[in-house]
Symmetry: D4
Subunit: 133 residues, 8 copies
């Protein structure tokens, strides 16, 4: 369990703030906390995501490793709601829904999205919630 009063915060690059807001707020359903000339800050599933304007961020095919971020849902229902949102709103996928580590304790379901700056977002649900860490 994590505390409910502290927050994780993550800063990532954003080539364009309008596109970024469009992706995170309109598509993914995050809440816009603040917008400045050089960044936007988001309430991202209860944690803080800061997107810094980085127009020169190089364009290249993203790789899942070693950098990505996202949410691990404790309940299958919450993961399924995310899958439903991704499908209905046609959120850009990097990797479709898959199951990893089948037959092990670490077995989990995962989907990877791609934001307009090519940051990769992984959402997961573990069969055994103790494997969330």
């Amino acid at each position: 369990m994590r505390t409910s009063h502290d927050t994780f915060h993550l800063a990532i690059p954003a080539r364009d703030l309008d596109e970024t807001e469009q992706f995170y707020v309109r598509q993914l359903g995050c809440h816009l906390a603040r917008r400045y000339a050089d960044r936007i800050t988001l309430n991202f599933f209860g944690d803080q995501l800061v997107c810094h304007l980085s127009p020169d961020e190089p364009r290249r095919e993203p790789r899942l490793y070693p950098r990505h971020f996202g949410v691990t849902f404790a309940r299958r229902d919450d993961f399924d709601a995310l899958l439903r949102l991704v499908e209905i709103r046609k959120v850009p996928l990097f990797l479709p829904l898959a199951t990893r580590f089948n037959g092990t304790v670490e077995e989990h379901h995962t989907i990877v999205l791609r934001d307009p700056t090519d940051n990769l977002l992984e959402f997961k649900h573990y069969e055994d919630p103790r494997m969330m860490y």
Copy 2:
């Protein structure tokens, strides 16, 4: 507020897993959840941090923007405990304790650490806890 049952998860590069475990577990006080040949996973202040073995991660002077991550503490006491730990255990600093946005609602105290792979970690505390997002 965030939920206490879901977790944020972040994947970052690690040039060397032993050094990484040394930094996060022995110095920063995180808990080692799992260790594989190619990664370690950590209970990082209640969220999941995955350090993927990336021996070829380029060496260069890190920049704070646009990529860094960390924790925003709701209570000053928790932030101070982190500062005390940093001082006593001589955790490598990238930027010393500073106050940013003085005199504004966004005013906050911040310290930036540097892990062995040159990932930057920012820990913050806001005067106004509503600014955590």
Copy 3:
């Protein structure tokens, strides 16, 4: 998530305090917190509703927009319990149970009640609980 210690508070007009208490306490099952000569205050589903005596509040056919208020239930069971109460106690309806935004992420079930002063109350449940905001 919202905090459990702070409360939302809403002040609305009430043409007649007895009728208002009858509607909110006896029919809707809210708890009467305080009664003064010129107002009653209610524990309305955990938040504060203050009904100010306003005998001259004009009588006209209410419109749902732009003003109404209510509760969004996170769990379907709680929404269903409200529907059952409305049916059994014959609480005055303004709009019957309906589903809005079908097939979108924002899809939700809604029912609109009408208090004796013609204030409109909307109760909702979203398929995707993240859409509560």
Copy 4:
């Protein structure tokens, strides 16, 4: 106490959506949840506020009674943080900080703000937290 999983929701008129977003998000620090052509929805201190585009909302000097809304803070610190924000960001006041019902159990501190559509927002803190209802 209220639940932390259900939310109160309130719909109010907004003469202009940009001005409304400016007031609630940039000044008051609420989070923008969704923006449509005819409305914006906000995470307002943990509850849902929906501002419906109502360009014809009549202009007249607002009155505090019978309609206003806001938050009652359980802790003085949270109320003070709001006062500090109001002062630093020069949020438009309708009524300055005042103490009401002095010497009674209902004694509370209150400040009233005015949004661009002349909706009035009252923020309160009671000496005796049981009087929040």
Copy 5:
């Protein structure tokens, strides 16, 4: 909702402390907090029950009204677990399982136990959890 940190406390007569401890701890599964010469105190489903030695408490057929006490369970499962305990351990019944206020919002299931001093304990579960008050 009630707070989890404050407790309700109830003091009742007990003709014999050993019998009382037998009933509340061994049969009903309460926890003995303290025992003095003239009273025992119990952790009774999370609240405090104090049984004062009252050997002269008159013996007469108990009546359910106006005095009794007990627990209202929010979840049916918890009520059923109590029913199962009553049956297996043959806890003395005053009134068997019954449903009251059928077809109304206040509909609830109830069972009434009788302690060795003829105090009556009612355990309830409401179809609509908002009716717990």
Copy 6:
């Protein structure tokens, strides 16, 4: 700790429902949940108190033992707020503020009120919160 979802419930006699509502709601600040011809139900500090109309309840000088009920506050501030309410609203006292079991672990502060039917209410605060049971 007790659960926050179940409630304690207590039924007591009330010689007159109006006087009883006056005492519990207007003076003590409880919330009126329901009123029937023969009883009122109250949200009493988060638990349920049911006052059954009992006009023939004998009049005699009440005794504190063996029957009384009330709340044990975990925090001194909450106890003090109750004392302040009792003083300002001149709630009828049966026993003034006193300290019992001085110098022992069970040391606590207590005040005893008297309702219109001569039921006695004790409110307490322990120096050592583990003694609440």
Copy 7:
């Protein structure tokens, strides 16, 4: 219910720290909090387990009574997840899954593991969650 902020702590012998870490972290999925020359400390299902290096701890067939420790899961799902982990990862069993106290209120499911130092760990789930104590 127990508090979520305090922790139970238990110190036990460990003949070999590497084997102990292997058992608790790699097999059982506990988190390694700290490692010293003479002990390791673990986040053991949310509580603290300290394994003190005790190379001379006598080798003998362990007995379940009077010393063992473990976790009682409130929810069957969490117990089942532990069973699945034990099976998949082939955690050394001392006693296989069994049901004890059948037909009584104390009925519970139990499995007993054996760590490399022959400490015994019992994991349980009760039909009636009130029997956890």
Copy 8:
């Protein structure tokens, strides 16, 4: 953080059940959950402690390592309340109040009690609450 719904459970030897109940319930303030011919079970600071009758448990001077158990308090006030109880009720000490690991992050205050079977109980409070594991 640990969950509030699962419990740790520990089984220890008890040479004499009466003495054991006397120590844990009357002195230390734990709650007696159940008493059988061969064991008592206790609600020990929110977790389960089972004391198995073991009349042949050898008598020898106890050692703190490697076996002991207790509670780590997150808040200094709760630790101080325990110290006060130990002093007032003259609970048998094995080691007096001491501070260990001075000047390090792991600095903590500790006191060690001794139960009638010579089991050792350590109660702790860390300067940095993150060191509780």
